[in-house]
Symmetry: C2
Subunit: 371 residues, 2 copies
């Protein structure tokens, strides 16, 4: 059979929708020899990871853990645990990942109601209230930071409304956590998840998840078993809680890496980190404007972490991405779903959010586009 | 809030039921900077990982992939995709992980029939045939290598019987793949999964899975959507197949590590690797016998990768494990479920299967037990 050589990969600068670049300190932690998942040293590290995740989520929720899969496993854990067959779920659909929520919730037997907005726009508190007044729901699901559109959905006011109508609020924070404010307790979000490979600055492989008191109560009141063994929070919580009951083997090395990435967030400080993401995004936006290239999302709802850039008329968007990758070793993303072919997606997240990356990308685009 | 120091973990020698020690080459590959999950370099690496997995599984199955989770995610993928509500599933229950199968299959709506054997024993082809003759089943599930008991379930003859009765054969190979023969095609197993952290020699985080032609046909004939979005093989297969359609972000770095671990298996050769595992297991067994310590499983069904050691009368099994860990930095496992308190579990898997580890463990046990 074929024999294979040493791992040989040309490093890239990752400025797409994720994964983002990973700091050498995090890669070094990743490569530390594993210990057992019940080793007291690992149990101690789990406590630290949980404490640090609470810090980044800005929450006191005891059930705050890294789910053993990538971001989508976080979404799956959210729907698997909080939907029972026949439950009514209201989903704000304005992008690729909210469409994924619709599909996923349906698989768990939810009666899904779609509230729709064009891709790149967000929902007003009034729209959510009108929808709940018309018909109640057990769960309202929104994407805080839509990776497919670059739009930022404000949540604080909506959370109050959702609770007034007796619903739980579930938020997808995959492209926000660690890059812009995610205030689980202050906003009163019940269920939120993210991924490690975007603004957190670790490789892909874990999905931070936090569950608030109302949601825990709902979990305890389930009348059916969670139809997903691997992601069943009623049992996973016993491994991450005081009992430390074996559930499944945790991805040990990914937890080493996550701890280091979270520690770097703590060192930088949340406010400074958010300001850095905002400043580099604004540099990018100004540079694109100078080149007369438009942005897809209105300024007031524009994500600092992921920018959807309108492909200028007459430009072959795929050829530009190919040139960026092959000649410059820079990755940016193409459009997904409704925005396919219409936008590029530029991520400035975690360690990728650096002045030098903005300068490089703008200069490379100028060379390629001749602007 | 608390601040946290550098990652500071005392390395262990991992001789428990997994994770096992990881070779420095694999850890080095793990720490290589990530590229995007649609980068042509990563797509090429995915092809290599699949080829190498087919080599280790001894199969031509095109749908042979690493599932994005630890070993239990492999089990979950197997049941989520091949069970529809009302399907009859026959499970051979003779240990902790076959009990897990029962729980999991039930969550997917299976009508589960238990065929039981004491923990540490295995099923004869006749028993399987009698059970299927009495009542057919869509799926027969067995654990090839029971991590909780140390027993090895022969599969070749059973596969023929299972197919004669029109059923699919599902095998848990978590503690066998890469450490002893797993011949998917020669034995004609339809669905098999494993974990990366045992005999494969990589950290935990991926679950190798292979699906044969009969099972693929069954998948295509499903009348309901797979009730698990993250592990839905009908869509995951499109990312791992020619289309390369984005499904979820793959754990990039874990795939680097898996490639390197599989490459090392190829370099060593399967036969040589199995012989190494067998030889070190026999050394361990002989050494324990010399100390007058018994083994739980009959020689003809004894796993070379995981040995269940009977705790001698009057010995505090937990104190021995604690001393091994704290004084010698050696990890072994305790008993699970029905064998709790009665056995130690000693794994000699992957990079942990070395002469020096056998010698060390026997010597340490002699010191601790005074034998």
């Amino acid at each position: 059979m074929t024999t294979y050589g040493d791992l040989s990969i040309v490093p890239r600068t990752l400025l797409g929708p994720g994964p983002s670049d990973v700091h050498p300190r995090v890669l070094q932690a990743l490569a530390y020899p594993p210990v057992g998942h019940l080793d007291p040293q690992f149990l101690n590290l789990m406590n630290e990871v949980q404490e640090l995740l609470r810090f980044v989520f800005q929450t006191e929720n005891s059930l705050t853990i890294p789910v053993s899969g990538t971001g989508t496993a976080g979404m799956e854990a959210a729907f698997a645990n909080f939907v029972e067959p026949g439950d009514s779920v209201l989903i704000g659909v304005n992008g690729y990942f909210s469409e994924r929520m619709v599909d996923m919730a349906g698989r768990y037997g939810a009666v899904v109601r779609r509230l729709e907005r064009p891709w790149g726009e967000v929902f007003t508190p009034e729209e959510i209230e009108d929808a709940l007044r018309a018909q109640p729901a057990k769960l309202v699901a929104l994407v805080h930071a839509e990776t497919s559109t670059g739009a930022l959905q404000p949540l604080a006011e909506i959370a109050g409304i959702v609770h007034r109508y007796g619903s739980l609020l579930l938020a997808d924070c995959v492209t926000s956590l660690g890059g812009l404010p995610v205030q689980i307790d202050a906003w009163d979000v019940d269920i939120a998840y993210s991924g490690t490979q975007k603004c957190i600055g670790a490789p892909p492989g874990l999905a931070p998840l936090t569950i608030g008191p109302r949601a825990r109560e709902a979990l305890e009141k389930r009348t059916t078993k969670v139809p997903n063994w691997y992601l069943d929070l009623t049992t996973v919580a016993q491994y991450w809680g005081a009992a430390r009951t074996y559930h499944h083997t945790a991805p040990i090395n990914m937890n080493y890496a996550l701890r280091e990435a979270l520690r770097m967030i703590q060192e930088e400080g949340l406010e400074a980190r958010f300001a850095r993401h905002q400043a580099h995004a604004e540099l990018l936006w100004a540079g694109l404007e100078e080149m007369d290239i438009g942005l897809h999302v209105e300024p007031q709802y524009r994500l600092p972490t992921l920018t959807t850039v309108r492909v200028p008329a007459g430009v072959d968007e795929m050829a530009v991405r190919k040139t960026l990758l092959e000649r410059y070793n820079v990755e940016i993303g193409g459009g997904l779903g409704a925005l396919k072919g219409q936008v590029w997606r530029v991520g400035l997240m975690g360690y990728s959010s650096q002045q030098k990356n903005v300068t490089l990308l703008l200069a490379a685009l100028r060379e390629i586009l001749g602007r």
